[in-house]
Every structure is written in structure tokens, then in C-alpha cells.
């Protein structure tokens, strides 16, 4: 089977609208969480989120295209463009034929729907722009990227709540490894900051009133974030042939279902996905030096995930550095796996592990090595990026350092 590598990274997030700014914030432990500005949140039980700021869609899209795009598509397309430019790949007809776009999104164009329903039910308007349906569909970002670059290989979108992007990237990885396609533009994007959706989160009572403190004893819940990250994933042979820069090898992918409860996660299910990812990549647990955790900072997730990490690594868990970068870019739902894979890949590239911000106090229930607040220099051999979704659906990617 072919080896698969990442050769391009693109990010739009609350801590930077490109991979360079994104990394600078991660390295500094700078959080993008702050008061919600995109709507009046004064009547909500929470007022903070990790919003994308300084992003002007008119600088990226002409007027005609803007009409077709929900903000979740902005983030997907702009990060895809950055990843493709970063990879230096030049598409010809043969490569376009063998390249696909595989994305994750939990919500699709929720902002478009929210606006439509407000006009319909609250304002009593009977007409709406005819582009609402194609703008709101969850595969819109993938379709736009395929059209912009003329990529005609396997192209689709997975929607598995907070695991969406990891499921997407896992499929892209396997399709390239088995030779179905040669290259994928893959990742995820999400734009959840609209009132109707935030009300749903409010009623679930899992959003923090202040900030996101993963694994910290005083954690108080998750913080929603928006953005996207996309990658150029391709076969090692193709990357070598064109002398591309290689961030890391995508070594393994594992997925599982808890078959337990819609919202209460199970350590066995999480551990199973982690174990399968390592087995798929032929990675021994002792080779892993970093886990980018799902780490939502909810009471339920963090002890569960710590148990899963202990289960997989045993005593070696003491030597596995863990951080949840959601403490900085928020929980971007269907884009989470992608933005966190970007953090993980850049960690290989820079030989620095991003910290877990907002950490105040160790929790005996979370007995793992948390990278508290300050980035840690480390030349890791392998790393994992966890995503565990509502519905008990788990997806884990394993990456390995690429040695020339």
C-alpha cells in the first residue's frame, strides 16, 4: 500500500486567518475566545465564543460568488486555496482526474437557514433568495473547491457532528493509500455562530460562561468556535517526485462507535478508535509523543478521554504530552478535527508542541501530562489527533514524522 503525506496546510480560525498567524498564536498560547460580536448575545446564558475576525469575504470572492456562499463555505474555500498554494502542486488534466475534495461539516450552511427561517417565521416574509438550498447544503464547500480547481475525483462530505473532519480526512487517507485517487484536498469547515443554533447549545447547558479550560479542575464547559482547515494530502511518491515539502506522514486512521448514549461518551469507544488508528499505521504506543486531545472542557469528556489515553498508553502515558487547542480556537464542531490536525502537523514541522491554554489546576480525574499554558519544544516521532462526537462516534488520526 502507498504511503500518504500532507504537503499543504491552510487555516481560517479565531486565532489566525492563515497557517502562519494560526501557528504564531498557538505557540504563544494566545486564545481567540472573547465576547460574541456577530449577533446580540445579551439574552443568552453564555456570551463568549471563538469567532473568526478580520475576515472580509469581499476580498476573497466576487459579488456573484458571494451570493452562493454561506460563511462555512468561505472558510473551507479560503483554507483550501491556502493549502493548495502552500503545497506548490500544479494541477494538470491527469492529476485533476485523480484528485478529490473530501470535507467534514456538522452544520453545513446553518447561518443561511437561520436567516431564512427568521424571515419566514418571525417577519412573515414569503419570499427568499432562490440560492438558499445550494448555499446551505453540507457539501457546498467541497463542491466549490472542486469547481474552482477542476478536481473530478472522489468528492464528498461526511457529517458526524464533532468527528466530521476526522472522518473526512480518514476517508481521504484510505482512498489515496489504496490507490483510488492520488491527491485529496481534505479537511473541514464550520460557521455555527447564529442565534437559533446558539439557543440549542444554551439548552444543552454545556457551554462555559467564561472560557474553555480543558483538563483543568475548574473547567466549566466548552466554547464554540468557527473556521476551517484544509490540507493537500497525496501519495508520498507523488510528493517526492515533485520535491514537495512534507509536513508529516498520515500513518493511520481508526474509528468506532460507543453504542452507548447520545451525549455521554464512553472511554472504551474512544480507546478503541485510538488503538485502531495506531494498528492501522503500524505505530507502537511508545512511539507516540503527542496527543492533540478532543478536550472539550466539559465535565464528561475530559476524564473519559484521560481514561482512554491511560488505557492505550499505560505507563507510557506519563511521556505522552497532551493538549487541547480548543482552549484557543474553540470547538469548531465539524471542523475541529481539521483545525486540530493543522496544529498537530505544524507541531511536527516546528518541533514545538502547542499548549493547552487557560489551564489553572490539575484534576485527579484527568491523570495525563497536560502541556499547561506554555508551548513545549519536542521532536516527536508520532502524534495522534482525537475527535469524539455526540452520538458516540469516534475518529482518530495518527501521524508519523517523515524522515527523508
Amino acid at each position: 500500500m502507498r504511503k500518504v503525506v500532507i504537503t499543504g496546510v491552510g487555516v481560517v480560525s479565531a486565532i489566525g486567518n492563515n497557517a502562519v498567524d494560526f501557528w504564531a498564536a498557538l505557540e504563544a498560547g494566545r486564545s481567540g475566545i472573547g465576547p460574541i460580536t456577530k449577533l446580540d448575545a445579551s439574552t443568552l446564558r453564555f456570551q463568549n465564543a471563538a469567532e473568526v475576525s478580520g475576515f472580509d469575504p469581499t476580498l476573497h470572492f466576487d459579488e456573484k460568488n458571494l451570493l452562493w456562499l454561506d460563511p462555512f463555505s468561505y472558510y473551507g474555500i479560503v483554507s483550501a486555496r491556502e493549502a493548495i498554494a502552500d503545497s506548490g502542486v500544479e494541477f494538470n488534466d491527469d492529476l485533476r482526474d485523480r484528485s478529490g475534495v473530501i470535507t467534514g461539516s456538522c452544520l453545513g450552511g446553518k447561518m443561511t437557514e437561520d436567516e431564512l427561517y427568521y424571515k419566514l417565521y418571525a417577519e412573515g416574509k414569503q419570499r427568499h433568495q432562490p440560492i438558499a438550498i445550494p448555499r446551505a447544503m453540507s457539501n457546498a464547500a467541497a463542491s466549490h473547491v472542486s469547481m474552482e480547481f477542476g478536481l473530478t475525483g472522489a468528492t464528498f462530505t461526511t457529517s458526524t457532528a464533532c468527528s466530521s473532519a476526522n472522518h473526512a480526512m480518514g476517508q481521504a487517507f484510505w482512498l489515496i493509500r489504496q490507490g483510488t485517487i492520488d491527491l485529496a484536498v481534505t479537511g473541514g469547515s464550520e460557521a455555527p455562530i447564529c442565534f437559533g443554533h446558539l439557543k440549542g447549545w444554551e439548552s444543552m447547558r454545556v457551554v462555559s460562561p467564561d472560557t474553555c479550560r480543558p483538563f483543568s479542575k475548574d473547567r466549566s464547559g466548552m466554547i464554540l468556535g468557527e473556521g476551517g482547515a484544509m490540507f493537500v494530502m497525496e501519495s508520498l511518491d507523488a510528493a517526492k517526485a515533485r520535491g514537495a515539502k512534507i509536513y508529516a506522514e498520515v500513518a493511520g486512521f481508526g474509528m468506532s462507535a460507543d453504542a452507548h448514549h447520545l451525549t455521554m461518551p464512553l472511554a472504551d469507544g474512544a480507546a478503541k478508535a485510538m488503538r485502531l488508528a495506531l494498528e492501522d499505521g503500524g505505530i507502537a504506543p511508545e512511539q507516540v509523543g503527542y496527543v492533540n486531545a478532543h478536550g472539550t472542557a466539559t465535565p464528561a469528556n475530559d476524564p473519559m478521554e484521560s481514561q482512554a489515553i491511560r488505557k492505550i498508553f499505560g505507563a507510557h502515558a506519563d511521556k505522552v504530552a497532551v493538549s487541547s487547542t480548543k482552549s484557543m480556537h474553540g470547538h469548531t464542531l465539524g471542523a475541529a478535527g481539521a483545525i486540530e490536525a493543522a496544529a498537530t502537523l505544524l507541531a511536527f514541522h516546528k518541533n514545538i508542541l502547542p499548549p493547552n491554554a487557560n489551564f489553572n489546576e490539575p484534576d485527579p480525574e484527568c491523570d495525563i501530562d497536560v502541556i499547561a499554558n506554555v508551548a513545549r519544544p519536542a521532536e516527536i516521532e508520532a502524534a495522534m489527533s482525537n475527535s469524539f462526537a455526540f452520538g458516540g462516534l469516534n475518529a482518530v488520526l495518527a501521524f508519523r514524522r517523515y524522515q527523508t
Binding site: K38, L39, D40, A41, S42, T43, L44, R45, P71, M111, T112, D114, E115, Y118, A122, C194, F195, G196, S203, M204, R205, P209, H261, L262, T263, M264, A300
Partner: protein, 93 residues
């Protein structure tokens, strides 16, 4: 017919939610005894919010784990109506 007390209304909502006779629900009955997990509990609180037309703050929810605690919490919220943010915001997208 005399007016229902808060406790009677709470027990009526509990009974309907659990599809059981109100007589089987006592003031000291806990969520756990009713077999409610955390998500069931949130749904029950939502039914109570609908019944009393109010919103229960997150910190109050933490202290509502039995019929008596729910009654106490609801009575406090009814006495403190300034805790009720109910207006919807207009989307800005």
C-alpha cells in the same frame, strides 16, 4: 377547584414525563430514583420551564436533583422574575 400549588404542578410534570401516576412521586424522590440520566434531566427541566414559562439558569440546574429541590428552585425563580431573559435576537448574517 382550588388552584394547584407549585409542588403539585411540578409533580404533574414529572408524572407526565415519566408516564407514571403522580401518587408514586414524593417530594424526596430524586432524579436518580426515577432513572433519569443527565440528558433526561435536562429534558425534564425543559418541560418545567415550559410549564412555568421561565428559564432556569445553569447554576440552578446543578442544584435540582430531586422533586423538593426542583420545587424550591422554581419557587425562587418565580419570586425573582428578573432572572428571565426571553427575547430573541435578530440574525445579523
Amino acid at each position: 377547584m382550588s388552584e394547584e400549588t407549585v409542588a403539585e404542578r411540578v409533580i404533574r410534570v414529572f408524572a407526565k414525563f415519566k408516564k407514571m401516576p403522580p401518587e408514586d412521586i414524593k417530594m424526596d424522590t430524586s432524579f436518580e430514583e426515577l432513572g433519569l440520566d443527565s440528558l433526561d434531566g435536562l429534558n425534564l427541566i425543559f418541560e418545567l420551564e415550559e410549564e412555568f414559562d421561565l428559564m432556569v439558569p445553569d447554576d440552578k440546574v446543578q442544584s435540582m436533583k430531586s422533586v423538593a429541590e426542583v420545587v424550591e428552585g422554581i419557587e425562587w425563580l418565580l419570586a425573582n422574575p428578573d432572572q428571565q431573559p426571553m427575547n430573541a435576537a435578530k440574525p445579523t448574517a
